[in-house]
Symmetry: none
Subunit: 207 residues, 4 copies
Amino acid sequence: MTRRLTARGQRRRQELVEFAADQFASKGYHPTSVADIVDGLGVGKGVFYWYFESKEELFRQILAEAQRDLRRVQRHAIADEPDPVRRIEAGIGASVEWLDRNRRLFVLLEFARTEERFAPLIRMGEEQAVADALPHVKAGIDAGLIRREDPLVLTQAILGVTGHLARVLVLEEGRPAAEAARAAAAFCLEGVLSPASARRRLAREAD
Amino acid sequence: MTRRLTARGQRRRQELVEFAADQFASKGYHPTSVADIVDGLGVGKGVFYWYFESKEELFRQILAEAQRDLRRVQRHAIADEPDPVRRIEAGIGASVEWLDRNRRLFVLLEFARTEERFAPLIRMGEEQAVADALPHVKAGIDAGLIRREDPLVLTQAILGVTGHLARVLVLEEGRPAAEAARAAAAFCLEGVLSPASARRRLAREAD
Amino acid sequence: MTRRLTARGQRRRQELVEFAADQFASKGYHPTSVADIVDGLGVGKGVFYWYFESKEELFRQILAEAQRDLRRVQRHAIADEPDPVRRIEAGIGASVEWLDRNRRLFVLLEFARTEERFAPLIRMGEEQAVADALPHVKAGIDAGLIRREDPLVLTQAILGVTGHLARVLVLEEGRPAAEAARAAAAFCLEGVLSPASARRRLAREAD
Amino acid sequence: MTRRLTARGQRRRQELVEFAADQFASKGYHPTSVADIVDGLGVGKGVFYWYFESKEELFRQILAEAQRDLRRVQRHAIADEPDPVRRIEAGIGASVEWLDRNRRLFVLLEFARTEERFAPLIRMGEEQAVADALPHVKAGIDAGLIRREDPLVLTQAILGVTGHLARVLVLEEGRPAAEAARAAAAFCLEGVLSPASARRRLAREAD
DNA sequence: TATGAATGAGCATTCATTCAT
DNA sequence: GATGAATGAATGCTCATTCAT
């Protein structure tokens, strides 16, 4: 495969990717047939197989592109920010925004995790995401800004909060991405304790 | 349906539920056929349709039982605990432990969210989970132990951290559930900031 | 596969084998679709895949059964015949008769030789046939009845004449099998030379 | 069709014929797609349909050319040979050699026989081959060199031995064509009987 | 209760052929 | 002459479900 495509071919391919992602996201990967996709675009079945080796390969490409794109956006968001904590906040913001603007892909990434064939792709992508975020957490620890705890665990927790709040607040409840990002960042930085309670706890730990 | 079953029938049914859940979790719901299930148990196809109206109905029952069971465990864990923050910690611990002991079901719940037909079930279950946890967060706020923020957001954030750390640390990295639970609880209570940084922030906010 | 079949199942399977062999032989293996077969029998498509793993597997089974049957017939024909030359004649006769009664299978064996996937099966069967006939040729040589030449070549030549005359005389021209068998045997034993010519040749060789 | 081709066109066409024959012979006619052929040559699909009306027509042309070529070679081999028996031997030799040098085509001829659409072509070619050889056999009979038997049967038997030994000895076992030709000729002339046995048989028949 | 057999719509994929450029 | 793109009927196969026993 990996055909050399003309401009027209590029456009067709993109149409297919986009329409398929929509269908996969709304009906599920399995319940969406290749026929659904080509019929939806009003083209013959051969078109699909001209551009993709199989339904599965198309799905993998959608996943890979999604992960690539999210990563690109995150990197861009935190560039030129000297404070590591601010970098983390910026990353959270970029992620929530991306998930908001690419709801379809969010669902697909979650589905992919549930099937043996695709799970490795997702895990690799997630490891990449952790590897991307880890240095900033470590820098925060070194700068005395972040608690001296396993940075990997902290990073994962941040990713967990961000993903979950994005889904629930933005996708399900329809709140603005910025609000969810703010809430996620605040939670990640300070947790749930009240200032008084936190102070008491800090004092206790100082003993 | 809802047949009256003999003791032997009960056992058969349970075998089917368990084996199907295993297969669904490892291969995916769609890639697992009814034939896979009955062949795996060495029984005829009629057996399946004696106990379940359809593959879909079986799956719904698995999901419902899973949600019921998780809820039961959480309730039990936090009973008799007067401190609301401690109740939250106990709930996190119980959840992580349950997810550890029921990995299959965890995956199934995540898959179910990705398909129109099953998503409502999951959303209902999650709303229930939030509704269960919410009072404790509110109690914490009222007692001045927890920050005066939208309790629904805080609750969701807690669920997000808990689920994600359980998956990553326990299921994927194989760490003990207790450790993941401790990490999740700590993160939820205090966030990532170092004591010094937190103090500074608190001081700033006090202005 | 290799399902345990009830009597009814056995009958169904046989119907499929027979009808498919007919179709394969008259239209060709590839031009015969599974749909042709099941439609021809007025059954659903699932029936086919209940009894056979694939179209290819069915074809292999037809080939294997054909070779097994031909071999059985040949063995039976030459049993209890003390003279090796007579045994060869009997074998030729049995082969021609079988090919006459199983024209379909004859064509299928020939087709199978032309496709990489099936050729090994045919070659194995043919080696078996040679191995079966060889001892008789050797015995003929040892008894001074047959020329002292490479017995393998002689055996192959006999098989070649037999197969070809069976096809041309019996299948294509419709002559009786017995006649073709007689012609084949005569040719194999004496060749084409006239008595006078043969005598001269023998004399010359004796020098 | 029958396009007037430039020199370059002639070469292109020949490339297609040759490559297709190779693929048909090794993978089979049906399993070889037009795409396989044009991709294998690195040209577009239009090229194929510029030179051939269809895949089937291409195959027919390959078959026709093969038969024409074999016939040409045989005729050439037996020219200027006054002895009819020697002519037959020469024909056998030429055939085996041709089959050796054109293995691909041998397989294709055999396949063609197994499919309704192509079988008539093959049968016509074979009848031609018989018609070509028949006069020599008849001449042998008239000259008292060959047994007074149905010359058609004798001719067919010769063709059968030749084809089979060429396939088995030369194509499958890799022996030299000349050796197979010698064996085939010897078998055709004298059969399998030993001189002594033949003499006895001749004596008996003289009664 | 349970089984083997059967159904048939549906699926992913192939492929000979055509077409616009 | 040649290419990439498109067509769409047809193919081998799957599978949830039903049925006769």
